[in-house]
Subunit: 333 residues, 2 copies
């Protein structure tokens, strides 16, 4: 569990895209952000107050979160100076970088000396159990995709937001590094050892109120040969009551796999549902979430109506329209 609120470290981000982790935190948990820390040459801006470490500390920030990708896979000397000073001033550090904070001797020593915590969210910090398959109380919804990187996290975050706005009880359950930094907790599922994947998802989505929904962030795709095992562990560990199908209509092949076509929404529905009914025979597919960013307004609208007609399910682009019809379908369950 990462302590909030955060000071977002944007470093020397060469462009806004490099700071997309910070953007995700700002978009989805603005209440967790007291400000941003930018170095000379930074070309990203979260429209948060620019703060020194001292100012952020005075404003209550507990953790400096690295919200930016580093160049060349190294933590530069310029960054290091800020990170060391942050530890000295009582901040914890949190990072989703491939190269771990804990592998930097000076940061490790400084954290030990100051009693602060280094959170490398790519690495599990919990000994997860083996899944036991026992039915848990409360409800769970999982986003599954025709491909990787197709909008499952965005869909889950939008659903969580819209369910809360509709007065429902819900918790976004992060399973990837960006999601973990956004919410401050979760399971870095792609880094969990095979035998414990499903158990980690059970651990992440425990017993809860009967009318509470866990909105579980999806990973991979049942049809993506590199990561499908991770997806199936989510389906079997999460024992979802409801599935949302995620799709992007202009993609020509599976991400990173030339020659592999995307499955149809129908094939995804049938496969995911049969597998989800192993732990939860009542599981239903309740809606389709389409990333229509590549389509114009009227094209997007036409595509969504066509999907609704074909599938007999509400279809939305959560970015363009929110998720209201899916929220209503979940409420009705």
């Amino acid at each position: 569990m990462i302590e909030t609120p955060y000071l977002l470290f944007l470093g020397d981000a060469p462009d806004p895209l490099a700071a997309k982790v910070a953007q995700g935190i700002k978009d989805w948990r603005p209440e967790n952000c007291v400000g941003q820390f930018r170095m000379e040459g930074c070309r990203a801006d979260m429209k948060l107050p620019d703060m020194t470490l001292e100012e952020a500390k005075a404003a209550g920030a507990k953790t400096l979160v690295i919200g930016v990708a580093n160049r060349g896979g190294k933590i530069s000397a310029a960054w290091k100076e800020v990170l060391m000073a942050a530890l000295d001033q009582g901040f914890d550090l949190a990072s989703g970088l491939h190269n771990l904070l804990r592998n930097e001797k000076d940061l490790r020593d400084k954290a030990a000396e100051t009693g602060r915590t280094l959170h490398d969210v790519r690495i599990p910090e919990v000994e997860y159990p083996i899944a036991n398959g026992e039915k848990r109380r409360g409800k769970r919804v999982l986003a599954v995709g025709t491909d990787c990187s197709i909008g499952k996290m965005y869909t889950a975050l939008a659903l969580d937001r819209d369910m809360k706005a509709a007065g429902m009880k819900s918790s976004f359950r992060a399973t990837g590094q960006t999601g973990i930094l956004i919410t401050g907790e979760g399971v870095p599922l792609d880094a969990v050892v095979a035998d414990f994947m499903a158990g980690s998802v059970e651990w992440l989505t425990p017993d809860n109120d009967d009318d509470h929904w866990d909105v579980i962030e999806g990973q991979g795709s049942l049809f993506h040969v590199s990561y499908s095992g991770v997806t199936l562990a989510l389906i079997h560990g999460g024992q979802p009551d409801a599935l949302i199908l995620c799709h992007e209509p202009t993609r020509t092949h599976m991400r990173g796999l030339p020659g592999y076509a995307l499955p149809s929404l129908e094939a995804l529905r049938d496969m995911a549902l049969e597998l989800a009914r192993v732990p939860n025979p009542n599981c239903q597919v309740v809606g389709v979430s389409v990333n229509t960013a590549a389509l114009g307004d009227s094209e997007a609208e036409a595509y969504l109506r066509q999907v609704e007609d074909r599938m007999g399910l509400p279809a939305v682009d959560p970015y363009r329209h929110g998720t209201a019809p899916i929220v209503e379908a979940l409420r009705a369950m």
Copy 2:
């Protein structure tokens, strides 16, 4: 890669079952075993020559393999004495125990001093790639089960033996600790990090002659919620040309999961085949392997004939009858 041949360490095995790893090595790779080492009170016997370390060394043994489960999860002082002496005499050590050889400081120091290797086969020793899904040359057959621990390793080893006897080119590809100790190499798939599971299976079953078969040891079950992700990684990483369905007809629920019924062979066939056709559209189910140990001869015979009629596939108990009809089906592909 573990150097052969082996001296099998049976320690103070309280009963033959405790030495089942040694039994597997003796049954399937007798040519890898020069002898056995038994301590006082040992109640297991592989019917191999009893040897001292000196005698085994003189007979050419390279590795002392711990073929017995330890009591209470600790490496006892009595065992330790033998293991230390083995390192001194130039043996490598290999173990599938949960508590690792490398975590014993005296063994680690001794191995460093003598230049010997400690093989803990539960732990991956390779940095596996992420799966790329590219089609590889050569053929692959994978055993999938209606449940865990249902005879998939035995089926694969029997198939490999019978294919070789029939003059075909084949390699048993181990994916679990016992299989790795039997063959001296493989991937401890249940200990691989999620993102690299399918890639490790691609690594294990590389390009090969067009008429060569990799016989891949299965793990878990698509219908076992604790381990299904591992199974799917095998299916997608292994890109099998052929699947064998494994079943045990008297089991009342999924192993370790009371309340979870086993799927039918038909449900397993349909699910596994659809998933296997993502990387390999030509994949076929070629036979059924049934563990009939709990049935009498005529019951077993009747059960197998009934499965053959129902499924339209050859059905064998590899222990009772060998795998000849399945070998013929593979040869015909």
